[in-house]
Amino acid sequence: MQRAFVATTVLSASVAPIGAFLVLRRLSLAGEAMAHAITPGVVIGFVVAGLSVTSLLVGGLVAGIVAAALTALLARKTILRSDASLASIYLIALAAGIFILSAAGSAVPLKSFLFGSILGIDDASMILFGGVATVTLVSFAFLLRPLIISTCDPTFFEAQAKRPLLIEQAFMLLLVLNLLAAFKTLGTLMAVGLMILPATSARYWSSTITGQLGLTFFFALASCWVGLTLSYLFPETPSGPAIVLTAGGFFLISVLLGPLGFGGRWRKPSDQTSKTLAQTSNKERRQ
């Protein structure tokens, strides 16, 4: 249990900036799709080399890179847009992963792949979480400003940066790495939950990027600790879904009370600085 608390704390620090930018870059569903797309790589790695961090990393990375490359290829060279390309690839990949796992007669239950095994974390997994978190946070020290600009004003960024695609590729690589770390603890179905829900919750509270990043980490950490505690108090409760459901609870609270959610509608309309995003959207629709 102590390991689970430490692991999810490190994981929260790592996935928070990734989740925040997935939401801001309008890639929330792409992140979900990518989580499923890495499944066959992880499964093949497991079938070939057993259940180890190395097989997980190598298999997942190869699958993630292949899925991203195929998606980009289809989106650029054919009529399909990137969302339809990624959806096609991930559906095939997820089905292939489960098929391979079943056909190989795996001793590891399917449930473990789908929902993770957060309470059975070994030393190698802890090293994986620490490594991924270190790589992610150090990378963000360099990528933060270009990521902000390329997300907010992509045309301007493309015109100013020497290699604009490099930022996108680096971000996707970090996404795959963090998915693999989350995959180990939360499984393929829940991995993205810890990225997206804290980030969408934070979106309702903060109008600055610093606040967005900080609150995303706070909601992710709180979801992990509360979810794990619930899972400990009620042993029948699986820890992965408990964590993601807790994150869902924070999301609902944020929607209802956050100043940029419905909470903002209850404020005085004359307060210009607290004008909500919802109000802005309504104005845009009227125009």
Binding site: I148, T155, F156, I209, L277, T280
Partner: protein, 250 residues
């Protein structure tokens, strides 16, 4: 006036479609060049080429003083994310992002430049406002402040007055005049024939596979605007008659 950029015998387009060919012009310091043309005439493609995002089919671009470290650029608002969680001062600071340190921290000198640019563009009073609370005019002023931060010898503005009121337009035009006085070259894509053209020295009219360049008065004639599919005959007749009537009235 010396040229920032020299373009010679340029052909622009795509492998299956040539937009125009045979264009030669100098983009001179302290001048403003207006680019006009109907939809699909190649205005945006020309801007992309100036930014180095696409190569010409043939011809030559040369920078007499060497390629600039940076080209000031204000893009159309189509892809700008107004919901992004940023304050006005952060948006303005983007203009100097290449000089930022680790984790994007601003030094004291850059912060002072940001403050000065916000004053010049008239957004210093809304420096801490979030982008999603700004009107179209306020956001455009902030983006002009970002261009100031870029401190570039050549400035490209792609339809900068598309969604701003007259007061804001007048303020932004005064900034363009100031850039001219500072010896910067400004290239301005304009959608409509308007008083904006009074602030331009030269015009580049694109359309029908042709590119005409010269002073505003010699290029933007009714006959040529109709020939280039920029105006219909009735539009040209109405517009220039109204213009003559107004001149007579004055």
């Amino acid at each position: 006036m010396s040229a920032v950029l020299e373009i010679r015998n340029l052909a622009l387009g795509y492998p299956e479609l040539t937009l125009f060919r045979g264009l030669s012009l100098d983009v001179e310091r302290g001048s403003t060049l207006a680019i006009l043309g109907a939809n699909g005439s190649g205005k945006s493609t020309f801007v992309k080429m100036l930014l180095g995002l696409m190569a010409p089919l043939s011809g030559k671009l040369s920078w007499p003083d060497g390629p600039p470290r940076e080209i000031g650029y204000l893009a159309q608002m189509t892809e700008f994310d107004r919901r992004f969680p940023l304050r006005v001062r952060d948006l303005v600071a983007m203009g100097a992002w290449k000089g930022f340190g680790l984790a994007g921290r601003l030094d004291r000198m850059t912060s002072a430049k940001v403050a000065s640019a916000m004053v010049a563009a008239g957004v210093d009073n809304i420096a801490d406002r979030s982008l999603h609370t700004l009107s179209g005019g306020q956001l455009q002023r902030a983006l002009f402040a970002r261009v100031i931060m870029q401190d570039a010898p050549l400035i490209l503005l792609d339809e900068p007055f598309a969604a701003v009121d007259q007061t804001t337009e007048a303020h932004l035009l005064s900034l363009i005049d100031r850039w001219q006085d500072e010896g910067r070259a400004v290239v301005l894509v304009v959608h409509d024939l308007s008083s904006v053209l009074d602030h331009c020295d030269n015009a580049l009219l694109l359309g029908n596979g042709e590119a005409y360049h010269g002073s505003v008065d010699t290029i933007l004639t009714p006959e040529r605007l109709v020939a280039q599919n920029y105006l219909s005959k009735s539009q040209a007749s109405w517009m220039f008659r109204a213009s003559r009537d107004e001149a007579a009235h004055v």
